[in-house]
Amino acid sequence: MSDIQQLKKIASQVRRDIVRMVHDCQSGHPGGSLGCADFLTALYHHAMKHDNSFKMEGKGEDVFFLSNGHISPVWYSTLAHAGYFPKAELATFRQLNSRLQGHPATHEGLPGIRVASGSLGQGLSVACGLALAKKMDKDDKLVYALTGDGELQEGQIWEAVLFAAHNKVDNFIVTVDWNGQQIDGSNDDVLALGDLEAKWKAFGWEVLIMDGNDMQAVVDGLDAAKAKTGKGKPVVILMRTEMGAGVDFMMGSHKWHGKAPSDEQLADALGQLEETLGDY
């Protein structure tokens, strides 16, 4: 079996986990989570050199930060499949006394999480700070961060974007989940982002564009981004995704940003997603 096939199997299971987790507690954000399942799977099982025994400081390993914290289901599932904590714990998502908070948090000590996120726009700054620390410590590993496209409407994002370019933070790969949707509608309707590629280039970043729902393209894109690190510029991947990717009735609209499926919709969704590694 090729690596790509294996990654696809993991991503399919991650998607099953996402819809089941959100259905279990009847809350959460399935749309963006499904759209980023291929990316997070490739990141943790192909691109990053990381240690699932989890040390907060992340010395000598690649580190990932999720800035758009509302897509926590995809991250929790990915971390569980990467061995950070038992898969059975996914059943506690958004429940009282769980380590799997609605939005990621360090407070309950969930392995794999290094900062709380949920209030948007903050994760790039934090990730950039850790990238800066790696440079100070002459640690040659990389820092990754994922942000939503709607999240780019937050001003702090652009403070971090200016800073990283000015300070040549070139061990830093940011990915934008460019699904074109946000809570109240499309980005274009709510607050258009304009020419994103030109904007990031103008800020001094190396820019790649990638299809985020084609596993081969994601693997190739991450490899290409890594090849561009260490050359004096931070790197951004503008990742085209489909909100709800993998579940037909959740695709093509912003309506599944933060909505849980009914019992019938869950059955419909699971019928479209192969159980490859066993449900939690």
Binding site: M56, A105, H107, V115, G118, S125, V126, G129, F163
Partner: protein, 318 residues
């Protein structure tokens, strides 16, 4: 210590104490890094930058990013000190401090100059009188407001060794120095003099005003207990209760809004444990304005005579 022995040895700004303390902390521990949002001169950070340029991060006028960067640096095991004005270290970035630092348990030292009215002519846009309230409400946040140059210097050194987020509040003006050789321990009230008739708890610049007031009151034959609460959170509850039990009369003096400051913290502790007559010397829920420091202190009721009047009023209610 006797009240008459508390004397000013000269004047220097608390922010100078921060600059000198930062340098000492950086010299002692190479995990200490400093960040500044385009206010190096105002925060007195140049000595640190000159000797440890590789551990200094100029972030530009981008305080939200600075708080996030600090959280990331702390995640990697650094001890970041952020430097900007108090208003921009709190109100402007409250959500960043809340989520990325406090809720995430990051070992970041948020260092804030130009707090209160005493930055003077810049006026109310910069005169934060709400910062203690905001910061003390964050779970896990330590809040310290030192009273003079020396206490700010030793507090800066102490917070580098303290694990956890800290808000360190200091100011712009030259101010009497009087705490040389006095002990400093985070969370431990500093008794400046013992007395039996009334307790004055004071923090920050108003500690000196309280010293002057206590001397006037003593000249009138009153026995004043003067306690410096430099650490507003965690509050030294034991010291507060012990003194209130003894004097049965309390005054609190601070350069902050009467709402949300040290006074309310002490009032809560006393209301729960030992209801006591209290008066407050603080800004009465208003914004400040431009002006000379002495004029602002007089107009907004933070002067020596205001501490004396509040104490007399408290005693009359005892």
């Amino acid at each position: 210590m006797k009240l008459k022995d508390i004397k000013s040895s000269g004047k220097k700004a608390t922010r100078d104490g921060f600059g000198d303390g930062l340098y000492a902390a950086g010299k002692a521990d190479d995990r200490v890094v400093a960040l500044c949002a385009d206010l190096v001169g105002s925060l007195k950070m140049q000595d640190f930058i000159d000797d440890y340029p590789e551990r200094f991060v100029q972030v530009g006028i981008a305080e939200a990013n600075m708080m996030g960067l600090a959280a990331g640096l702390a995640t990697a095991g650094k001890i970041p000190f952020t430097g900007t004005f108090a208003n921009f270290a709190t109100a402007r970035v409250y959500d960043q401090v809340r989520q990325s630092i406090a809720y995430s348990d990051k070992n970041v030292k948020i260092c804030a100059s130009h707090a209160g009215l005493t930055l003077g002519e810049d006026g109310a846009t910069h005169q934060t009188l709400e910062d203690i309230g905001m910061m003390k409400m964050l779970p896990g946040m330590t809040v310290i407001n030192p009273c003079d140059y020396n206490q700010t210097k030793v507090a800066t050194i102490a917070i580098a060794k303290h694990e956890g987020p800290v808000y360190l509040r200091f100011g712009r003006p030259s101010w009497p120095m009087f705490t040389e050789d006095m002990p400093f321990e985070i969370g431990k009230a500093l008794t400046l003099c013992e007395g039996t008739d009334v307790t004055i708890f004071a923090t920050g610049h108003l500690v000196w005003k309280a010293v002057e007031a206590a001397k006037e009151l003593e000249a009138e034959g009153l026995s004043v207990e003067l306690i410096n609460i430099h650490t507003i959170k965690p509050l030294d509850v034991e010291a507060v209760l012990a003194s209130a039990k003894k004097t049965k009369c309390v005054v609190v003096a601070e350069e902050h809004n009467i709402i949300g400051g040290l006074g309310e913290s002490i009032a809560r502790v006393l209301a729960q444990n030992n209801p006591t007559v209290m008066e407050f010397v603080a800004v009465n829920d208003t914004f400040g304005e431009s002006g000379k420091v002495p004029d602002l202190i007089a107009k907004y009721g933070l002067d020596t005579k205001d501490v004396v009047a509040a104490t007399q009023k408290a005693l009359s209610r005892k």
